[in-house]
Symmetry: C2
Subunit: 253 residues, 2 copies
Amino acid sequence: MAAETYKVKDVARLSGVTVRTLHHYDAIGLLCPTRRTSAGYRLYAQADLLRLQQILVYRELGLPLEKIKMVVSDPQFDARAALVEQRAQLAAKAEQTRDMIRAVDAALRALQGDEDMNTEDLFDGFDPKKYEAEVEQRWGGGAEYAESVRRTKSYSKDDWVRIKAETHDLMQRIAAQHEAGVPPTDPVAMDLAEEHRLQIDRFYYPCSHAMHGNLGQMYTADVRFRDNLDEYGDGVAAFLSAAIEANGQRAER
Amino acid sequence: MAAETYKVKDVARLSGVTVRTLHHYDAIGLLCPTRRTSAGYRLYAQADLLRLQQILVYRELGLPLEKIKMVVSDPQFDARAALVEQRAQLAAKAEQTRDMIRAVDAALRALQGDEDMNTEDLFDGFDPKKYEAEVEQRWGGGAEYAESVRRTKSYSKDDWVRIKAETHDLMQRIAAQHEAGVPPTDPVAMDLAEEHRLQIDRFYYPCSHAMHGNLGQMYTADVRFRDNLDEYGDGVAAFLSAAIEANGQRAER
DNA sequence: CTACGGCCTCACGCAGCGTGAGGGTCAAGT
DNA sequence: ACTTGACCCTCACGCTGCGTGAGGCCGTAG
C-alpha cells in the first residue's frame, strides 16, 4: 500500500482533463495537490484524485466551479439544495434556448417561406421578430415589450399563415387605392391606414397613432422597408406612409 | 422632416439597451453613430436606429455580435445560411442542457430517492454520474468514455429502478457472506466480486479486472464510499475490496 | 554533456457587456 | 457670472473556464 503520487500529466491522462485545467483548479483553490516536490512539481495523492472525481461529477452537472468548491469542501453543505437550484437554472436556460430556436425558425420561414426571397427580405414586413425590435424601440423594452414577445411567441404556424394572408390582403387593397390615383389624404386612404394600424395592434403589439407614425416614417426612410412594400407597386410605400400620417393627424383633432 | 438625432440615453430608452451596450457596439464597430458633437457626444440618426433594430433582432436570435456585424453590414451576406447555422448550434446547446438536466435529476433521485440520505450520500454507489467520473479516470476520457455516457444516458427511470434493485440484491448477498465469516479470499467471495464486476460491466461501462481493482481500493480509501457500503454492515466495504483484489489475482493466473 | 520531454509561472484572449473611476459639457436656476 | 445636476466621455478591470503560447528550470537517457 505505497502512498502513490501522480504528476500533472498522469492525473490528466487518468482523469481526462488537461494539465491547464489542473493548474486552474489549483489556482482557484478548488483542487490543490497535497504535496509539491522541492522543484515545485505538483504531486497528487489518491485523495486528490477522489476529490477530482467529485469535482468532475458536479462539473458534468453544470455547476459553476465556485459552487463545486463549496460542495466538495464542506461536507455540511447542502448539496441537494445546490442541485435543485442548478436544475432550475438549467430549466430556465433550456427554455431560453427553445425560444430562440423558435424565433430562428420563424425568421427562416419568413426568409424562404414565400418563393425565393433573398437576403434583404429578412426585413420583410411580415417577420414578427422585426416588429419586436420596433416595439422595443417604441416601448423602451419594458413590461409591455415582454408582453408582445409573449404574444407573438404564442402564434402557431397556422396563425402565421392567417396573419400573413390578412396582411397581404390589406396591402393589396392599399395598393389598389394608390393605383386608382386616390390621394393619401383621402378618407378612404386614411381608413385603410387605420386598418393597417389596428392590424398591427391586433397581431403584434398595442400600436398608438404615434407609434404608427414612426413606423410610417421608416417605411420610406429605409430602402429595405420601402422596396419591400413597393413590391405591391411603385410608390406604395410612400403612399402608405403619407396615409398613415394623414390618419394620425385626423385622429388628433 | 428634420434630421432628428438622438443622444445615447435617448437611444437607450427607445431601444431598451443600456448606454454601455451602445458604447460597446461603437467600440467593436457594430453600430457607430453617424455623427459626433465637437464635445465628442455620440449623435445617432434615424438610420442608426434602424440598424440597431436589425442588430437587436439578430441578437434575440442568439447570433454572436461578430456574425451580426457581417450580416447587417453586407447586404450580400447570406443571412439564411447564418441562421441555419445558428439553429444547429442552438439545437446542440439545447440537447446539452437537456442532458445536464437529466443528469441532475438522476443525482437528485440518488440523493433523496432512498429514505433520507443526506449530503455525503451523493457518493452513493448507485448514482451513475459518480461512475462516469470513475470511468473518466480509468479511461482517460477517450472514446470509450463517451460510449459509457451514452449508455447510462439511455436508461429510463424504470431501468434505474431495476439496476438499483439488482445492485442492492448483490450487495446483500455479499454482506451475508461477510457476516457468515467467510474470508474474502474464499472462492465464494471471489465469485461474488466477479459478479460485482460484471454488473458494473453490464450497467455502466466495460470493467476490466484492473479497473475493478482500482474501484475496490477506493471503496476503502474514501470514507464516503466506505460508509455507504458499510450500510450493509460494518466492514463490508473492506470485505468487498479484499474480495475484488483476490478475484483479480485469481484471474491473472 | 547535451538533448529532449515534462514541469513551472506568468499572462493574454475570448463574449458581452456591468460597473465604477475620474473628468468634461450643457441647460437651468440663483 | 457662477453653481448645480443631469448627461456625456474615455479608460479599464471583472466575470467563466480554461486554451494557448512564451520563457525558463528539472530530470533522465544517450
